[in-house]
């Protein structure tokens, strides 16, 4: 195994404790830019790699954490250890390697995906042909996207006696139509043809709707429906940024460490947020972390109350809490409320459906203030609108009027909120 030489060197180094997580992978991908598949900017490509993440607690108690490339793992072990030693710091909270514990048996590998990663192109050809056909038949101008498959082998070895390994796969596709809106999924196994086709048809219909004449829209404080894509990108993205263990420990975000477990609600009292890394073949499922922590379902927010930040070993120790699951995919995340309404009901109440937003990464996640451009929005009166939406996310998540909305085939709900909308 690639790790063995490094493990031998670690054992000989006199280090107090260590862990090393190695991953090897192979990947096949094909891009499409403006209807051109496999052009020089989005080529058909294959890649192979080997990398590792390590932690070393040296004899003097100092800690090194970092990554290694193939060359260091296979050929330059001594140099790599010297490099690691040069970066050691006093980090008492980080000087911990977990004891062996039971690793959950979670299905994360699909042979059909592995076959594609190894060069079986039929499933890619079939999906590509379908998108092309629909684009032509429905009169779309252009599309861009990608299809990819990868297979990886991960192995964790620790000084405490843990030695676990497992294979995983990922299959992903995306398609952005007319440069306007996109659909796509990252999965462990290709979704069924029927699901794939229905997703493509749905996004095509939405993009074609955006071609209808622009509608007028009254600005001001209005009921606005955020599409699940917007909820994932902005709402959940902001929550996860503020739930990050380092952010909480360093008092850099919206949530303070004393709020966790205090019983005082910070959001509306029926809202919940959980991570489930055990869904069979779920894109966000995993068996153990790069530190050797077994995965387990985690509740982050329960009835509006903060339960735990998202914690690795270091920040778990610093905050006096157990390490938690990590959200590898939004499909592992459940954002819930006491009740939800179907899309059709919410559509009648909202002045506009916000299909996508620009500028998410420019927002100050700590304040929760948002001011986002929504160039792809749909007016209840029919017709496209372009607008800016603004408000404060945390205020929205405390607002009794905020409603979770169920969209077909979406794991994340939409959100019906009252916020400011300014057409342009």
């Amino acid at each position: 195994m690639a790790t063995d030489r490094f493990v031998e060197a670690l054992e000989a180094s006199g280090a107090r404790a260590w862990s090393i997580y190695t991953t090897s992978f192979r990947r096949l991908s094909l891009g499409t830019k403006d209807r051109e598949s496999g052009n020089p900017h989005a080529p058909f490509s294959v890649s192979e790699g080997l990398a590792a993440a390590y932690k070393v607690v040296w004899a003097d108690g100092r800690v090194s954490r970092g990554s290694l490339e193939r060359r260091q793992i296979e050929l330059e072990v001594d140099d790599a250890l010297r490099q690691a030693r040069s970066a050691a710091i006093d980090d008492p909270d980080g000087a911990f390697v977990p004891e062996p514990s039971e690793i959950p048996d979670v299905a994360i590998h699909a042979p059909e995906t592995a076959a594609i990663a190894a060069g079986e192109v039929e499933p890619i050809a079939e999906r590509l042909a379908f998108i092309r056909k629909v684009v032509v038949e429905r009169g779309l101008r252009t599309w861009s996207g990608s299809i990819s498959a990868s297979e990886g082998l991960g192995r964790i070895v620790t000084s405490t006696g843990m030695d676990a390994s497992g294979k995983g796969t990922t299959f992903g596709w995306s398609a952005v139509l007319d440069g306007e809106l996109g659909a796509g999924r990252a999965l462990r196994v290709p979704e069924s043809r029927e699901l794939f086709k229905s997703r493509v048809f749905r996004i095509v219909d939405t993009v074609l709707k955006l071609r209808e004449p622009a509608a007028s829209l009254a600005g001001g404080l209005q009921r606005v429906l955020l599409h699940p894509d917007v909820v994932e990108e902005y709402v959940l993205g902001t929550l996860f940024s503020n739930l990050d263990g380092a952010t909480v420990a360093h008092a850099e975000g919206a949530f303070r460490k004393e709020q966790f477990g205090s019983g005082d609600p910070v959001l509306r009292e029926d809202l919940g947020l959980t991570i489930d890394p055990w869904k069979p073949l779920g894109p966000g499922s995993y068996r153990f972390s790069t530190e050797g922590v077994p995965s387990k379902p985690t509740t982050l927010i329960d009835r509006g109350r903060l339960v735990t930040p998202i914690l690795d070993l270091k920040y778990g120790r610093r905050l006096g809490m157990a390490p938690t699951a990590h959200a590898l995919s939004m499909e592992a995340v459940a954002f819930t409320a006491a009740s939800e309404v179907p899309y059709e009901e919410a559509e009648r109440e909202a002045v506009a459906l916000i299909l996508s937003v620009l500028g998410v990464h420019t927002q100050d996640t700590a304040s929760g203030d948002f001011s986002l451009s929504a160039p792809q929005a749909w007016s209840r009166k029919g017709g496209r609108v372009k607008a800016t939406i603004s408000g404060n996310l945390f205020a929205l998540l405390r607002d009794p009027g905020t409603t979770l909305v169920r969209f077909e085939d979406e794991t994340t709900p939409g959100l019906l909120v009252t916020c400011r909308i300014d057409p342009r």
């Binding site: 496999g38 058909f44 060359r71 006093d90 306007e180 008092a251 304040s367 203030d369 400011r420 342009r424």
Partner: protein, 495 residues
């Protein structure tokens, strides 16, 4: 580290011979990269690390015109030969998959080298000393601004490339870049706000360079003070206003509103192209405004050659109001109908090179002089500058956007957004602080609204540009301050 690339001549030759024997064209890209990072918070190091990444990518073009790319993170000759064979094999799937046949690339063979002096400093960097220096700087900032939580980071990145093509091209270059950044978050029980500041330079002496540290402290202290004031600031109303922006925001405007739309890989859908051709000659802005992208030696985003081994050239995207040059590569310059500017960049040896910006700026003819240094200008000094230029005779109030915090564009629709760190309303009565809000609109409307500029060019606004899954350093700027007349298609968000 660059010797890692210099030692691969035999491998490059073997792969070139193998590709020729198979009847395919070859572009071979090797990369060796070394990064280090020190993160300090609350008087202690939270992260310190050094990482290296090396490997190569082989891109083939078959006689039928199909291209494919393969990558592997070592330089083992046997594995490299197998990889090349595999890439040739998958390119053969072109007809089955309906892949595009690529046009013949139009670039001349080039043998060149651009490796700056002094790169051994990257190998000699004392991380312990860097940690202690950051802790000192954090202490100094904290002693001068109460009520903030600070995070200081120092990063170095030595990114070396070698590009060999089957036409004899053999180009080696290194891109050294270092940054020192600070983020300040206000403490207290109210809303939290974070504000950042940064400086950059080509060598890892940043934390010990007196001039750089002085600039860093000025910027960091201003950012930290702003973080303490933002929670009590009101929200600015939304709408169209006369706007003054600093050079970092003007860089954002150039980058988001014009740079991305001029990248030739998007010309089958970009708003600046028609039927795949750049709309060179079209008027897109006033005659006193130009948008220019070019490599600036020592700059954060400097790249002397493209990732396909072409010399990077200046591109005057907008020349006094008219479109002129696009950001092109050897695959697109002919079809785009513009000159080859060698703009392709790649994040990694695994990536397909894409036309990208390097250092982009907005230039305005006859800028109004501004005395002193940029750092001398707080909102009150800016207000005085506008008053002396007679701006308040045209507009009783001007909205001043300060500090860039990222942006985004849709090149198909021409919609762009970017965000600032703070907003000041400037008028006869003084300067009032407001919370930041997004600035959005149509690229043509924004460029057309530019009226005046103040001060000399400042081109050190740095950032990271994301495109098609790849992130590369970006930079640029403009005159210290740029003034935009109210324009209905350009709006400030607000609440």
């Amino acid at each position: 580290m660059i010797d890692e690339l210099d030692r691969r001549t035999d491998l490059a030759s073997d792969l070139t011979r193998r590709a020729r024997a198979a009847g395919v064209g070859l572009i071979w890209r090797a990369q060796a990269r070394r990064t280090s990072r020190v993160l300090v918070q609350s008087g202690r190091a939270e992260e310190t690390g050094v990482s290296t990444a090396s490997g190569h990518g082989v891109q083939v073009v078959t006689p039928e015109g199909y291209t494919a790319l393969g990558s592997r993170d070592d330089f083992d000759p046997g594995a490299a030969a197998n990889l090349l064979d595999r890439v040739i094999g998958i390119a053969a799937h072109g007809p089955d998959l309906g892949l595009t046949r690529v046009p013949a690339a139009s670039s001349e063979a080039l043998r060149a080298r651009d490796v700056p002096e002094g790169l051994e400093a990257f190998e000699r960097l004392d991380l312990e000393a860097a940690r202690n220096r950051l802790i000192d700087l954090e202490r100094e900032i904290a002693s001068r601004v109460e009520g903030v939580t600070l995070r200081l980071a120092f990063g170095t990145d030595l990114d070396g490339w070698r590009v060999v093509r089957d036409d004899g091209t053999d180009v080696t270059f290194a891109m050294p870049r270092c940054t020192m950044r600070m983020t300040a978050s206000n403490e207290g029980s109210g809303d939290r706000h974070s504000v950042g500041a940064s400086v950059s330079g080509p060598l890892p002496d940043l934390p010990w360079n007196d001039a750089t540290v002085a600039k860093f402290l000025e910027r960091a202290l201003a950012a930290a003070r702003l973080a303490t004031r933002l929670p009590d600031a009101p929200n600015h109303p939304s709408g169209s206003f006369p706007i003054l922006m600093d050079y970092a925001l003007a860089k954002g405007l150039a980058h988001e509103a014009f740079g991305h739309a001029s990248e030739a890989d998007g010309f089958r859908s970009s708003i600046l192209a028609k039927d795949g051709k750049f709309r060179a000659g079209d008027r897109v802005g006033p005659a006193h405004v130009s948008v220019i992208d070019e490599p600036v030696r020592g700059d954060h985003a400097f790249q002397p050659f493209s990732a396909n081994g072409v010399r990077r050239r200046r591109a005057t995207i907008v020349d006094h109001g008219h479109l002129k040059d696009a950001l092109t590569d050897a695959w697109t310059s002919a079809s785009a109908g513009t000159s080859l500017t060698g703009a392709e960049r790649a994040e990694s040896f695994r990536s397909a090179p894409l036309p990208r910006m390097t250092n982009i700026r907005i230039e305005v003819d006859a800028p109004i002089p501004a005395p002193g240094a940029f750092e001398d200008y707080g909102p009150e000094e800016v207000r005085e500058l506008l008053a002396s230029a007679g701006i308040f005779r045209r507009h009783p109030e001007v909205v001043f956007l300060s500090g860039y915090s990222g942006g985004q564009v849709n090149t198909v629709t021409g919609d762009f957004v970017f965000n600032c760190k703070s907003i000041y309303r400037l008028g006869h009565s003084g300067a009032t602080l407001y919370k930041p809000a997004i600035f959005s609109g149509s690229m043509f409307g924004a460029l057309g609204a530019i009226r005046e500029a103040f001060g000399p060019l400042a081109l050190d606004a740095i950032g990271t540009c994301g495109k098609w899954g790849q992130s590369v350093p970006s930079s640029g700027g403009s005159h210290w301050f740029v003034f935009l007349e109210p324009e209905p298609s350009v709006r400030l968000g607000g609440r």
